[in-house]
Amino acid sequence: MVKYIAKRILQFIPVFLGVTLILFIMQNVVPGDPIKLIAGERKLDPQVELNLRATHGFIETDADGKIIYDENGDTIETPMWKRYVTYLSDLLHGDLGTSYQRGTPVSEIIAQKYPYTVQLALVAIVIEAVVGIGAGIISAIKRYSFWDILVTLVTSLLVAMPAFWFGMLLQLIFGVWLKDLTGGALSLPISGVAGPIAKYPAWMYYILPAVTLAAVSTAYTARIMRSQLLDVMNQDYIRTAKAKGLSKSAIIRKHALKNALIPVVTYVGMDFGAMLAGAILTETVFSWPGIGRETYIAITQRDWPIVMGTVTVIVVVVMIINLIVDVSYAFLDPRIRLGSSKNEG
């Protein structure tokens, strides 16, 4: 087990380097000078501009941060590979860089925004697990019944619609059409998480964004649950249990569910990782101040240190979650021995 975890972490290193390298190359081929963008329309004082270039590592400086000039009195541009190495070594020291536009440390921005994403993901994952697994079980037990058809229909629709559109529909239904019924608590603007202007208990602001974020994955969870349970119910040991005269509910509770749940738990776990990556669209529709929206804004502003920082954190978090899911898989299902078979992708 320890060997397996160590191996996974080692495999993670090239992937991590690859992801950051690709982003690093991207930001260097993107049109537009980020330092010039800071000033916007205004003209930057040449000395200020030089200092900014020095702070963000675009030109060579000495150990004290003083700009180095060559024999012609020109500054020396730092080559890309050197900046990438600097980025990596800074990263190892816990330094994610400084935002071009705001001048604040990226780690500070992440510390401020990430909790919102995590909270939303937690609410969404609970919805996904409870509703998805519940619907899947009902659907499988009462196969071909009205409920089964309903679940199949709803899940098919949910996976075929853009999630941001679904979010708007929710806003329309609960915030506009049912305004009186919901007491205006869910009315527009729903967004903005309890701040000074918040009129309602904070948890109310989580409902619609969390449902939106969970929608598509809940549909998948229900489908996987249904097919897994149906699959397990056809196994020999279930037939044996039936032959022993156990009631259907006892068979499902004590025998079928345990095995059928394993792939479902894996899916939900992986999906939690994906949710922690931030949901740009959900966060945009509801103006949710999370990491996804922050990264999106940073991309449009060419504020690459933020993009590098958030993606770095996101990729690490997702990898860790996936590793935890894989390891817990071995605990849930004793048939699986990690490390013996190479994951074939």
């Binding site: 495999q11 090239p14 992937v15 991590f16 690859g18 992801v19 690709i22 982003l23 991207m26 930001q27 081929v29 993107v30 049109p31 098919s156 629709l157 996976v159 075929a160 619609m161 853009p162 941001f164 559109w165 708007m168 529909l169 806003q171 329309l172 506009v176 527009l188 998948y220 489908r223 996987i224 097919s227 897994q228 899916y267 994906a274 990556a277 931030g278 740009i280 669209l281 945009t284 529709v285 996804g292 990264t295 999106y296 991309i299 449009t300 060419r302 993009v307 993606v311 996101i314 990729v315 997702v318 990898m319 074939e344 992708g345």
Partner: protein, 316 residues
């Protein structure tokens, strides 16, 4: 992803590879003939296919009739004051109503279909092409090739997908061509994995050994023997992928990173309608229904093809 796919060697299922090499069996049943027979019985898949054909015909023929009947998708109302033409509710003349600038929304939805369908098909084409080459290299040659390509796929899949597409668009710029380049390039790893597993299972078959023993080159074995026997899974996967590409395009356009205004796309139409959610909700509902119905149609058709071609796929 587990993806065991091998067309069973039952006598009644003729693979194209076999059919092509034995002329005497030309009249016998083929994989595609059998599949069509099964697909015909799947009502949902047929309805989905009819819907797709309908949208394609409407989108292709739009220039011939839409401007005359409904109005130019990009032309603002002429001859009337903006107050009289702006954001009209659905009527006979404007079945989907009009937008803020007095433009006919149905006309814009129809022209938006061109964008969505083109992106869906072209982006899927690009990712399928890259994925096939990568998957074939990885599976057929194995060893170091397999390691490098699959690690590269891991890197691509480790990126948060939407963020990656947006970052890519930020680098290469807005516009429909760039949208399909971005979606196309980023979509290859999953196709490569599917094709790789398909090849790995087909490769085990005796007829591949036989072909090699007869001196066939690697390229010939891949193109003539392995590809026809894994094409079913690729067709199914690509069909479903089109729906996914349409969804991604709508998200990009919604974020203002897709087509360039004033050209309509389903995503930009939703974005335009968002601000009138309280007063003119149809502006945002109708383009969303267009996306929903089209993506659903591709999914149902994909499901139907999967069952008809007897492709085993992991659920969801």
């Amino acid at each position: 992803m587990k993806y065991p796919h091998a067309i069973p060697a039952d006598a009644h299922i003729q693979t194209p590879a076999h059919a092509a090499s034995s002329s005497d069996s030309a009249a016998s049943r083929t994989l595609w003939g059998d599949a069509w027979g099964r697909l015909k019985k799947n009502k949902l898949a047929i309805i989905a296919a009819i819907w797709i054909v309908f949208i394609v015909i409407v989108a292709l023929s739009a220039d011939l009739w839409v401007p005359q009947v409904l109005g130019d998708p990009n032309a603002t109302a002429a001859g009337v004051s903006m107050a009289d033409a702006s954001r009209l509710p659905p009527s006979l003349q404007h079945p989907f109503g009009t937008d803020t600038l007095g433009r006919d929304v149905l006309s814009r939805v129809i022209y938006g279909a061109r964008v969505s369908l083109t992106v869906g098909v072209v982006a899927t084409g690009i990712s399928t092409a890259i994925g096939l080459v990568m998957g074939a290299l990885a599976a057929y040659y194995g060893g170091i090739w397999d390691t490098i390509i699959m690690r590269l796929a891991d890197i691509f899949l480790a990126f948060p997908y939407t963020l990656f597409v947006i970052a890519m668009i930020a680098v290469i710029g807005n516009g429909i061509q760039n949208v399909f380049i971005a979606i196309g390039i980023l979509g290859w790893p999953s196709i490569a994995r599917v094709f790789r597993s398909a090849i790995l299972s087909v490769k085990q078959n005796d007829y591949v050994d036989a072909a090699r023993a007869m001196g066939a080159s690697d390229a010939r074995i891949i193109v003539r023997h392995i590809f026809p026997n894994s094409v079913a899974s690729i067709v199914v996967y690509a069909t479903m992928n089109i729906g996914g590409a349409i969804l991604t395009e709508s998200a990009l356009s919604f974020l203002g990173m897709g087509v360039v205004p004033p050209d309509p796309s389903w995503g930009t139409l939703i974005q335009d309608g968002q601000q009138y959610l309280q007063t003119q909700p149809w502006l945002m509902i109708l383009p969303g229904l267009a996306i929903l119905s089209t993506v659903l149609a591709f999914t149902l058709l994909g499901d139907g093809l999967r069952d008809a071609l007897d492709v085993k796929m992991k659920d969801a």
